[in-house]
Each structure stands twice: as structure tokens, then as C-alpha cells.
């Protein structure tokens, strides 16, 4: 029978045992100790649970998504990979249905790129200000405030985009709706700025002081030291921060669902409504029948999105590795 005290003893035994047992040298680490074995098992199970869950999710995603290309649609038509990636019409309700995600990918990419144009200069500016211009007192409260901004729920940002930015844009540019690519990009940029600023600032702060002194000692001004020593030395961290910020923007759903307008069209004007991949999945999954071709198509979009953000993350670690290993040889 398991009582409280039994359970308690199970968890405390390893601790007491290590405290009381005589030291056995390095062999003691080889897992012979019963207490060690218990804690090893617990951590191994916990670790594999998380890993297994993630792998199962990926497996599920691929099984459900690839079904689109394997089984014919309800009306007997088939969807090829080329039609899916390069098709420019997303009409899942038509007969035969059209599952071209080019407008959705274009929307995701354009919203991300446009938000990058805003978030990189603003985020980097914030980081440079915090690390090189601000006095210690501004820095003391500025950094936590920026990190708190990252905690802003995205739905709140979406509300601001809908209720503040949209009416403003509608009036300013005299367009029928303020819910468009630019609106979503502005709100996504606001989300990415804290990530970029915080990671870039950490990278700038971690540049060793003796390198900065070496630069000053050669007669460099603070600005020259920043541009020629501090920023190049922090480049890998800064690059990783930027890409993490952009990945966050690309995977973000709520803001684009609320602010981007939702029209699945190929568009090159920032004032047009667009429908990124994430909001397509979120908006349409509730209306589909499980196992239908529309259902599989939404999973296939999920695969595409996963591969894109995965590539972004790979790029981030590649950049970080490249600069740290070679000792900035190119610089």
C-alpha cells in the first residue's frame, strides 16, 4: 500500500543515502548506488516523455498532411505537390477544390519581411542604446521593461491592431479596410522587438571589456569602438537574436488572424488584405470534416510552416556557429 510516508521515503531516500554513504570515488558515479539509479530513472523517463511527445506530433503532422497527396479528393481529383506549392488559388470549398498555397506562403513571407524591416532597426537601435549610450540607471529599469513587453499576450496586440491601427490606416490612406499586410507587420514587429533587443543587448554586453579597452587605447572614439569592435564581436549573438525574433513573427497566429484581413490573394501592396499560413489553419480547421481533403491540406500547410521555421532556426545556429568557431576570420 502506498501511503504518504512511503512516497515521501521513496523520494528522500536517495538524498539521505548520498549524504550518509561513504564516498566511493569515481566508481560511485557509475550508477551502482541505488539512490542514483532511482533519480536517473525519473529524469530519463521525464526526458523521454517530452522528446517522444514532440516526435509523435511531427509524425502525426506528416501522416495527416501527406494524405492530401496520396488519396484523391472527394470529387476524385488529385492534388500534386506542384499544384499545392505553386498553385495561386486557395479555394478549398470549390468543386473541384483548389489547394494552392502560394498566396498563403507569400503572405507569411511578406508579412515577416515587412515586419523585419521595422523590427530589426528598432530592436537593434534599442540594444545599441541600452548597451552603449544609456547610463547605468536607465539600463537598470530599461532592460526589464523591454523583457516584460515580450510577455504581452498576442491577442492584446491583435486588439490594438484592430481597434487603433486599423481605423487610423483606413482614414489616413483612405482604404476600405485597415486590416491589411502593413497593419499585421507593425503588430508583429512590436512582438519581435523585445526578443531582438534583449538577445542583441546580451550579446553586446558579453563582449569582453579588455577588447573595448584595446580599441579605446588606440584612439578610437566610442562610436568607432562600437562599430568596429563591439558590434562585429557580438555579430553571432545579434544574428541569432534577429532570426529568433523573425521566426517568432513567422509562426505567430493570433495577430495575423486579427489584423491581416484574411483574403487569400497574391498581393504586393502593403495595404492589401492577406491571409498567412498560420491564420488559414486557425480559421479553417473548425469548419472541416476530419479526414477530408481540406483537413489534410491544412495539415500540409502545417508541414510547410514547420519546415520553414525549422530552416530559419538552422540558419540561426549556423550563423552563431560560423562566427564563434572561426574567430571572426572574415571580419
Amino acid at each position: 500500500m502506498i501511503t504518504h510516508s512511503n512516497v515521501w521515503r521513496f523520494f528522500t531516500k536517495p538524498l539521505m543515502k548520498t549524504r550518509l554513504a561513504p564516498r566511493r570515488g569515481l566508481n560511485g558515479l557509475a550508477g551502482k548506488d541505488i539512490g542514483d539509479r532511482q533519480s536517473r530513472i525519473i529524469f530519463t523517463v521525464l526526458g523521454f516523455t517530452a522528446l517522444t511527445a514532440l516526435l509523435l506530433i511531427v509524425l502525426f503532422l506528416f501522416l495527416e498532411g501527406t494524405a492530401l497527396f496520396i488519396h484523391p479528393a472527394e470529387d476524385g481529383s488529385r492534388v500534386g505537390l506542384g499544384d499545392f506549392i505553386l498553385g495561386s488559388f486557395w479555394y478549398p470549398g470549390y468543386t473541384p477544390p483548389e489547394f494552392g498555397i502560394l498566396p498563403l506562403m507569400a503572405a507569411s513571407l511578406s508579412v515577416t519581411v515587412l515586419s523585419a524591416c521595422l523590427s530589426i532597426p528598432l530592436g537593434m537601435g534599442t540594444a545599441l542604446y541600452l548597451s552603449s549610450v544609456a547610463g547605468p540607471r536607465v539600463r537598470e529599469w530599461g532592460k526589464p521593461v523591454i523583457e516584460l513587453l515580450a510577455a504581452m499576450p498576442s491577442v492584446v496586440l491583435g486588439l490594438v491592431g484592430m481597434m487603433v491601427i486599423a481605423p487610423f490606416m483606413q482614414e489616413w490612406w483612405d482604404v476600405p479596410s485597415g486590416l491589411n499586410m502593413l497593419n499585421a507587420s507593425v503588430m508583429l514587429a512590436l512582438m519581435a522587438i523585445p526578443t531582438i533587443a534583449s538577445i542583441a543587448d546580451d550579446a553586446l554586453e558579453s563582449v569582453p571589456r579588455d577588447l573595448l579597452e584595446a580599441s579605446y587605447a588606440l584612439g578610437a572614439t566610442p562610436l568607432q569602438t562600437l562599430m568596429r569592435t563591439r558590434l562585429p564581436c557580438a555579430l553571432s549573438g545579434v544574428g541569432a537574436g534577429i532570426i529568433l525574433g523573425l521566426t517568432r513573427a513567422m509562426g505567430e497566429t493570433m495577430v495575423v488572424l486579427m489584423c491581416a484581413g484574411g483574403a487569400a490573394q497574391l498581393s504586393f501592396s502593403p495595404l492589401d488584405a492577406v491571409r498567412p499560413m498560420t491564420s488559414t489553419i486557425a480559421a479553417e480547421m473548425g469548419e472541416t470534416a476530419v479526414g477530408s481533403s481540406h483537413y489534410s491540406a491544412l495539415f500540409a500547410i502545417g508541414i510547410t510552416l514547420f519546415l520553414m521555421t525549422f530552416a530559419f532556426n538552422l540558419l540561426a545556429s549556423f550563423i552563431a556557429g560560423r562566427y564563434s568557431q572561426k574567430g571572426y576570420q572574415a571580419a
Binding site: 579588455d210 577588447l211 584595446a214 580599441s215 587605447a217 584612439g219 569592435t229 562585429p232 574567430g327
Partner: protein
């Protein structure tokens, strides 16, 4: 002014970190083309003093200075003096080798490029002559575009010396430049410093009294923020005038 034999003149210098006085009433003349060694126990103010000579202490908040430091006749703490200009004229080599994580070439060219030298030919010439002056040219001439971090500790420190020499400074400051190096690298740096005397004025902080005795012309002993004694190195090490100097040199404290 040119005939004045002093490269640096320090007049009634007092220096404070906040409320704490780090240097008290220092008066010192440093002759051109001589090696001056600053010795004394840890915390005696010798490094602080050295870093005042190129205004490195400007980078610390809450410091205050009284008195004057003249560099070839010019007051380096005068309101119109720019710290960046002063640092171009006074080179510095630090305790730990601190090459930039750039190529060997770009390390040496860093200073000249800051001050507008852009043409490749001119830079090549400066890099070669500086590396030769630091006795590093023969070892690295085929690897100028390799990372400076691939060099050994002693080579890195000579690279830092070459980097400082590329600015052709009027005075060269060295803050315990060999404390992180092995004996062979140390003796290489010492030989170099003695060669440099012909064209530069060198001020070196050292914890190593044999080093001070081996290489310097003049030695200054600091203790508790005061300049206790200064004079020809031979005299300081054989016939110190002050009791504290003698105690320190004979190893009774410090």
C-alpha cells in the same frame, strides 16, 4: 620645447575614485627614450597612475583628478584636449594579451584605419614595419589573414605591441605585459622593450623586480598611493634612500 628632455611631466597629481584618494601628490618627470619602471605592491596605485597617462581612467564613472600631466609640454587634461587624440599619441599594452578577434593584418591595421589611412599600399607598409618592430614578422608573414586568436599567448602579446606601435606613439605604456606569459616569451618581450628604447619612451608597470632591474633606466616605487622614491634603477636597487623602498626590494613585504 623640443630640447626639453622630458616626454612626460607630472605635477602635484591627486586622483580620487569617488571619495577614496588613490594617488597622493605625485610629482615625476619621465625622460624621453628611457625605460621607466613602476614598482610597488598590489593596490599601491601604479596601474592607476599608468592609466592616467593615456586617460584610460576616463572610462570609469565618478573619478576626479587634480594637478597636471604634460605630454611633451601639452596638458592632456586641459578642457580642449580630446581623450581619443591623447590615446593616439600614447600607446598601451595590457596585462593580458587582448588581440581583436580579427585577422593578424586587421589587428595591426586597426589603429591606422581608424585615423583614415585607407590605401592598401600604405597599410601593408605600416603592418610590416610594426610587425618587424615587434619581432613577429618572420613568424606570421605568410599567415597575415589568419585569425589573431590562432597565435600563442606570447605571439599574441607581441601582436598587441605591434598594434600599439602602428600608431607611432610618443610614449608607450605597458601594464604588466609579461605577467601572463611563460619565461621564454617574457624574455622576448624584454629584449624588444630594450630595443624600442631607441625610438620610444617606455613606461612599464611590473610586479617582477628582476624585470625592473634588468630592463629599466629609472625606477619609481609606489606605496599606498604615494610615490615614495624614484631614481636611477641601479641606485634604487643598490642604495635606496627610503626605508619602505628597501623593505620592499629586499622582500620584507609586498
Amino acid at each position: 620645447m623640443v630640447n626639453d628632455p622630458n616626454a612626460v611631466e607630472v605635477k602635484t597629481l591627486n586622483f580620487f575614485y569617488g571619495e577614496k584618494q588613490a594617488l597622493k601628490n605625485i610629482n615625476l618627470d619621465i625622460k624621453r627614450n628611457e625605460i621607466t619602471a613602476l614598482i610597488g605592491p598590489s593596490g599601491c596605485g601604479k596601474s592607476t597612475f599608468l592609466r592616467l597617462l593615456n586617460r584610460m581612467n576616463d572610462l570609469i564613472a565618478g573619478v576626479r583628478l587634480e594637478g597636471k600631466i604634460l605630454l611633451n609640454g601639452m596638458d592632456i587634461y586641459a578642457p580642449e584636449a580630446e581623450s581619443a587624440d591623447i590615446r593616439r599619441r600614447v600607446g598601451m599594452v595590457f596585462q593580458k594579451p587582448n588581440p581583436f578577434p580579427k585577422s593578424i593584418f586587421n589587428n595591426v591595421a586597426y589603429g591606422p584605419m581608424l585615423h583614415g589611412i585607407k590605401n592598401k599600399h600604405g597599410l601593408n607598409r605600416i603592418v610590416e614595419s610594426s610587425l618587424r618592430a615587434a619581432a613577429l614578422w618572420e613568424e606570421v608573414k605568410d599567415d597575415l589573414h589568419k585569425s589573431a586568436l590562432s597565435l600563442s599567448g606570447g605571439q599574441q602579446q607581441r601582436l598587441c605591441l605591434a598594434r600599439a606601435l602602428a600608431m607611432e606613439p610618443e610614449v608607450l605604456l605597458m601594464d604588466e605585459p609579461t605577467s601572463a606569459l611563460d619565461p621564454i616569451s617574457t624574455s622576448k618581450i624584454e629584449e624588444l622593450v630594450m630595443d624600442l628604447k631607441n625610438s620610444y619612451t617606455v613606461i612599464i608597470v611590473t610586479h617582477n623586480m628582476q624585470q625592473a632591474a634588468r630592463i629599466s633606466d629609472k625606477t619609481c616605487f609606489f606605496y599606498m598611493g604615494e610615490l615614495i622614491e624614484s631614481g636611477a634603477t641601479d641606485q634604487i636597487f643598490t642604495l635606496p634612500q627610503q626605508r619602505q623602498t628597501e623593505n620592499y626590494i629586499t622582500g620584507r613585504f609586498g
